[in-house]
């Protein structure tokens, strides 16, 4: 047989299932073959996206890199653990940004757009509809909320304009939308605050064309605001906690993840400053046999996150010798007790949907 007639013959090992997946040793799976850019020690890295983005944020901070936080906890604020977490695991306190449309609208809002239905009330307290869980208990007045929001959106603008690298973790395609102006929310009205009004709110499940259009627009506009920014797209491996579609939650999950994965890959292959990092593939690969999921088969175990970050660090983080020394010292000072620290300290609005069961 003429080998030249078989285009699959002689390709590098990662092209083939057996050598690229099935025969790969435990913990050795690395699906990254080439990257478009590297991240230096002086680069300011920001993150946004679904709950999985918080894992990335924590590990980037731990690795000694320059994690950008533009909305830290102020001394005049209550120093609760939750408040500290909200102010450190998000580059600005936007909470989880689950859909691409939500990210696009965050960019719009930072640039002055004011959606109509944006303040929700519960038990006499006021909640920012776009981040109802970032301030548990809400605000005493609308004025206080608006004051905090103004500060927040200025910080969001700083994230978009000051970042050298933005890591965006795509999480969901399902969301709830305002019928007044198309504003989308991280959680359904009525879950954290406010109430569902069918004349005002509608369920929306974005399809590939919509996600592709939104993601392309988000990347292009971000680059217009910040001409040197590099964007790293990932897809969260965390399955949906609940679906509003009349079908099994797993079927909805595969639809959602396939849509996001396709759009992320296509945008990355189109725009030279956008890259795709396969954290979804590392966690869900059949080679791992589901071991990276907790017993609820949804939350990602710390050991899985560490695998993701090991691959991320290997390919994207360009370390100097000095940084290696700092890292070794850090590991030494943290000792073994740091290994499981923070495993449960990831905040997920979607878990509120469990309470609806």
């Amino acid at each position: 047989m003429n080998d030249k007639l078989n285009p699959y013959r002689g390709l590098p090992s990662f092209h083939y299932w057996r050598s690229g997946v099935a025969d790969v040793g435990l913990g050795q799976f690395d699906p990254v073959e080439a990257v478009k850019f590297q991240i230096g020690e002086s680069d300011q890295i920001s993150t946004l996206g679904s709950c999985f983005a918080q894992h990335l944020a924590k590990h980037i901070q731990k690795s000694g890199y320059n994690y950008l936080v533009t909305e830290p906890l102020r001394s005049d604020e209550e120093q609760t653990e939750m408040a500290k977490m909200m102010a450190s695991q998000f580059s600005a306190r936007y909470g989880n940004v689950y859909t691409v449309r939500q990210a696009l609208q965050l960019l719009d809002r930072a640039n002055g757009w004011e959606p109509k239905d944006s303040i929700w009330e519960r038990d006499g307290r006021f909640y920012d509809a776009f981040r109802p869980n970032v301030f548990p208990g809400g605000f005493a007045s609308e004025e206080r909320l608006l004051e905090e929001r103004k500060r927040h959106l200025a910080s969001v603008l700083d994230v978009f304009t000051q970042s050298d690298v933005v890591v965006f973790t795509l999480g969901l395609t399902e969301t709830w939308m305002s019928l007044q102006d198309g504003a989308v929310y991280p959680v359904a009205p009525g879950v954290a605050a406010g109430s569902m009004d069918e004349s005002q709110h509608v369920f929306k499940n974005f399809n590939y064309t919509e996600v592709m259009s939104d993601l392309t627009a988000w990347c292009i506009r971000l680059r217009e605001m910040n001409p040197e920014v590099r964007i790293l797209l990932t897809v969260s491996p965390v399955p949906l906690n609940a679906t509003y579609e009349p079908r099994n939650v797993w079927t909805s999950t595969t639809y959602s993840k396939a849509t996001l994965r396709s759009a992320a890959g296509d945008v990355a292959s189109t725009l030279p400053y956008v890259d795709y990092f396969p954290s979804y593939e590392i966690i869900t690969c059949p080679q791992v046999q589901g071991r990276y999921f907790e017993d609820d088969l949804r939350e990602v175990k710390e050991i899985g996150v560490r695998h993701v970050m090991r691959v991320f660090g290997k390919h994207y983080l360009a370390k100097s010798e000095a940084a290696e020394v700092v890292e070794q010292k850090r590991r030494f000072s943290f000792g073994r007790s740091s290994r499981s620290a923070g495993v449960s300290s990831v905040f997920c609005d979607e878990e509120l949907l469990d309470q609806e069961e």
């Binding site: 099935a22 040793g25 435990l26 050795q28 990276y292 175990k301 560490r306």
Partner: protein, 276 residues
């Protein structure tokens, strides 16, 4: 093998590695026999250097590879004094390389415990063992005519598949047994997908932990929890037990033959990491 043999007779004997004794044992049991001989691959090495035993190296023999795989437990260390194995504080033949080194250098128990950390393991090459172990075992399988790829794919599905450096879990033994059965009883062996659930596990009484830092690199959960029969120990306890046991045997005054060898390079590395 009995389960897979579909009624054929399977028997086993423990043979000596002393050539003369081995000669008489094999002569008594198997010479002129039409039975298929399943022999540990180390026996073939004895055959190859002893002319009197060459006649037992029949082409019908099936040699069984030694399942040794250090990736999960690269810290396991054997030590011998005049041919007698050095026992750990839990009375097992497996010792910790780091603990033995630290003890021999006079480090305190606390200083020893401090050496159980990622940068030490990395410096000692503990994270690079998978490929090395895999290649060594592949060679061993192939020399014995077995399919390593098929074996490792099936056993690593369960995650950790070794209790220690040379004690495979049931899945490892049963998957090798399946391949043996296919050769010994090519047309009549019984196919049992979950064979490992029907066999008695004689190796589970000693469990060496996969250190969490090593587990991280292998994508499996780890711990610092040792077990020998009904005795259990944490890292702190195991160090204490080992140091106490070695004090009693005056280990520091003995000439210990380490297997694998603790190289000068490793010694220098550990000295530097321990700050001595």
């Amino acid at each position: 093998m009995e389960i897979l043999s579909n009624g054929s007779s399977v028997s086993g004997i423990l043979v000596s590695n002393e050539p003369k004794v081995l000669f008489s044992e094999l002569s008594e049991h198997f010479f002129d026999s039409e039975s298929v001989l399943l022999l540990h691959d180390s026996v073939r090495e004895i055959f190859s250097v002893n002319d009197s035993l060459a006649k037992f190296d029949r082409k019908e023999n099936i040699y069984i590879p030694t399942i040794s795989f250090a990736a999960f437990h690269p810290d396991i260390q054997y030590g011998f004094i005049d041919g007698a194995v050095v026992k750990s504080g839990l009375d097992s033949d497996w010792n910790s390389r780091i603990m033995l080194w630290a003890y021999s250098k006079g480090l305190s128990q606390g200083e020893t415990e401090n050496l159980f950390r990622e940068d030490v393991f990395q410096s000692l090459g503990y994270f690079d063992e998978w490929d090395k172990s895999s290649e060594t075992l592949r060679k061993s399988f192939e020399e014995c005519g077995f399919d390593y790829g098929r074996w490792i794919r099936s056993v690593q599905r369960t995650g950790v598949f070794m209790y220690g450096i040379n004690h495979p879990m049931q899945i490892g033994l049963s998957q090798l047994a399946v391949q043996i059965a296919e050769r010994v009883f090519p047309n009549s062996h019984v196919v049992i997908e979950d064979l490992h659930t029907f066999t008695t596990d004689y190796l589970s009484h000693i469990v060496w932990p996969v250190y969490p830092e090593i587990g991280d690199h292998l994508g499996v959960e780890g711990s610092y929890h040792w077990r020998v029969a009904r005795k259990h120990a944490s890292l702190t306890e195991f160090i204490e037990l080992c140091f106490s046991a070695w004090d009693k045997m005056k280990l520091r005054k003995q000439k210990v033959n380490f297997i694998p060898v603790i190289s000068n390079e490793d010694d220098q590395l550990l000295r530097s990491l321990a700050g001595i």
